[in-house]
């Protein structure tokens, strides 16, 4: 490496990455001899409450929560935190609504993926294939955004090149996910979540110190930036942002496949209950902590966000200016941990969509025997190939990467929200409804995004989710009802009431 950078910032990162790979190898050895598909894709349903909470939070919290978000808080003020705090609903909602139902169904159906459950509920291989395709497509967009965001942060803070950052943490995350599977992802996610919290505390401490203390920073802000103390930030935070954020990062996140799959992976209901509480505490701490730090960064930086190259550069610049050089490496592990934990969580689900939901299903259907070794080889290779593909895309990053990230988030929610919610809680939901909702809703969402079409200036998720619901209801009204055997499997409580 001929480039020069802050070597002391690099060493903690390298150490952290070694620990991640070490965990993965340890998990791989521990899982030897167990059912490979179950252990690789859902960790053999062995997660306890703490790990379940941390892996759900870490997968949910992306690098933008640590970079773009607090940068916006710097610009907008407390209105941004007021908006971001809706994310405290994410964990108790997904686990409270889907956690137990998905766990019960997964055990009855021997399912290891969300697509397995969709296939069984709607008795449709075609719908399952579409679901798998949607997952892989949108996950690739999200993962690319994480790679790019992480590598840019790395470059800004350490002084090494973007490509070096991408190689360092990009390859490591692909390697450890490929080797260790879901269990390794869950454990490394837990480490990442803990590191994120430590990173927030460290950064907050040094920002306060560099800004001359809390009283000094806040007094200056009250005088110079009164817009930061107003919920609409003098017009910078319109109500439409509040509304759409409730959908995008609040309510609709319950249907994200990467979150719902956590419902398949835990051991018992005591663990689920613990996770709901721990997860809500942790996600709130992270959200409020990092965004508040973004506002307090005014004590370190004196210009506008534009003066530092935009909101995405606020946190990297603050880290460099406020923290001692020897601690910079520790501080950026937090945001990078957010990045790699999201990538690993998505990577394993994307891989399961291809290997388990498509390949193994069709092999089984055609009575072809696939040896355990071949499954192992295919699973690890597929994980590595998807990771490598996204890695290559990230080498030449698209310019609208953050928009792509939000686009992917909305696309997944449009595709899966009603399919999962109505599919698992409404007997009247059927194949036609789910098919129309998933395909029609997603196509309409993508088309409105491409055309830049909005209603009342609301994010296109509002159009996607509304059309998806309407199509679901129309399809369920006109389509053939689900058969009795399926309804008995998914709604035994209703069937017993009728008998």
């Amino acid at each position: 490496m001929t480039e020069t950078g802050n070597l002391s910032a690099l060493l903690p990162l390298i150490l952290f990455m070694f620990v991640m790979v070490g965990i993965s190898i340890f998990v791989r050895n521990r899982q030897a001899g167990k059912n490979f598909v179950s252990s690789y894709f859902v960790g053999n349903r062995e997660l306890g409450g703490f790990v379940l909470a941390m892996t759900t939070v870490a997968t949910y919290s992306s690098v933008s929560s640590f970079v773009g978000g607090p940068g916006m808080a710097y610009q907008v003020g407390f209105g941004w935190i007021y908006m971001a705090v809706v994310q405290v609903t994410a964990i108790f909602l997904v686990l409270g609504i889907f956690g137990k139902r998905v766990a019960l169904l997964a055990r009855k159906l021997n399912a290891v993926t969300v697509v397995d459950i969709i296939r069984a509920r709607f008795q449709s291989d075609f719908l399952a294939a579409i679901a798998a395709f949607v997952i892989v497509l949108f996950f690739c967009g999200t993962m690319t955004a994480q790679f790019v965001g992480g590598a840019k942060l790395f470059a800004a803070v350490t002084g090494y090149s973007y490509e070096s950052g991408l190689f360092l943490f990009g390859l490591v995350v692909v390697i450890y996910t490929s080797i260790g599977g879901f269990r390794a992802v869950a454990l490394t996610d837990t480490c990442c979540a803990l590191i994120m919290m430590i990173g927030i505390v460290l950064l907050l401490h040094y920002v306060l110190e560099a800004g001359g203390g809390y009283d000094n920073i806040m007094t200056t802000l009250e005088t110079n930036n009164p817009e930061l103390f107003e919920p609409f930030s003098f017009g910078n935070m319109p109500w439409t942002i509040y509304f759409t954020q409730w959908l995008l990062v609040g309510i609709c996140t319950i249907a994200l496949p990467q979150s719902v799959v956590r419902g398949i992976s835990y051991k018992n209901t005591q663990g689920l209950h613990q996770a709901m509480l721990i997860g809500t505490i942790v996600v709130g701490f992270m959200n409020i902590g990092i965004n508040f730090t973004g506002i307090l960064a005014h004590g370190v930086l004196t210009g506008t966000a534009a003066d530092y190259g935009g909101v995405d550069n606020i946190i990297p610049t603050t880290i460099v200016k406020a923290m001692p050089p020897e601690l910079v490496g520790l501080a950026i592990i937090g945001p990078l941990a957010a990045s790699i934990s999201t990538i690993s969580g998505l990577l394993i689900v994307a891989s399961s969509a291809i290997v388990k939901d498509v390949y193994l299903h069709y092999a089984q259907k055609n009575n072809r025997t696939v040896t355990p070794n071949k499954v192992k080889f295919l699973s690890m290779t597929t994980t590595a190939i998807i990771g490598a593909t996204v890695f290559v895309i990230a080498l030449t990053p698209p310019s609208l990467i953050w928009l792509i990230n939000m686009f992917a988030f909305g696309g997944l929610e449009t595709a899966f929200f009603w399919t999962l919610l109505l599919g698992l809680f409404w007997r009247g939901a059927n194949k036609m409804g789910a098919m129309l909702s998933m395909t029609g809703g997603t196509i309409i969402y993508c088309a409105t995004q491409a055309a830049g079409f909005k209603i009342l200036n609301l994010h296109q998720i509002t159009i996607g989710i509304t059309c998806s619901l309407i199509l679901f209801l129309i399809g369920s009204y006109f389509g053939k009802k689900s058969d009795d055997e399926t309804l008995q499997m998914f709604f035994p409580e209703k069937t017993s009431e009728r008998n």
């Binding site: 053999n44 349903r45 062995e46 407390f78 935190i81 007021y82 705090v85 809706v86 405290v88 609903t89 964990i91 108790f92 909602l93 409270g96 609504i97 889907f98 137990k100 139902r101 766990a103 019960l104 055990r107 009855k108 809390y214 009283d215 806040m218 007094t219 802000l221 009250e222 103390f229 107003e230 919920p231 409730w246 309510i251 051991k267 018992n268 209901t269 005591q270 689920l272 209950h273 613990q274 709901m276 509480l277 997860g279 809500t280 505490i281 709130g284 701490f285 959200n287 409020i288 508040f292 809680f425 709604f491 035994p492 409580e493 069937t495 017993s496």
Partner: protein, 91 residues
């Protein structure tokens, strides 16, 4: 409230419990949204500050978070029941 051991109930009863718990969670969400609206927007016109922070900013952020924690605690410790999930992976 004393924590109950996992209950042995029929498959139908388990799904019925789970359905009720999902409804509780949905209602909790509605309650939190109402609190969020009142805590932030409804108090924004008040000229009250603590630690340099306007009341709406405290209630709308830390207040909402605290209520979410209380909701999670009530759901998981009071309203939700431990059930045997079945399958060989369960305890």
């Amino acid at each position: 409230m004393q924590k109950k051991n996992p209950v042995s109930v029929s498959d139908a009863q388990k799904f019925d419990i789970v359905r009720r718990e999902a409804i509780y969670t949905g209602l909790a969400l509605v309650g939190l949204i109402i609190f969020w609206l009142i805590a932030g927007f409804a108090t924004a016109s008040l000229d009250v500050k603590f630690f340099h922070l306007p009341l709406w900013a405290i209630l709308g952020t830390i207040g909402v978070w605290s209520v979410a924690i209380i909701i999670s605690a009530v759901l998981s410790k009071v309203l939700f029941r431990d059930i045997d999930l079945g399958g060989e992976d369960n305890d």
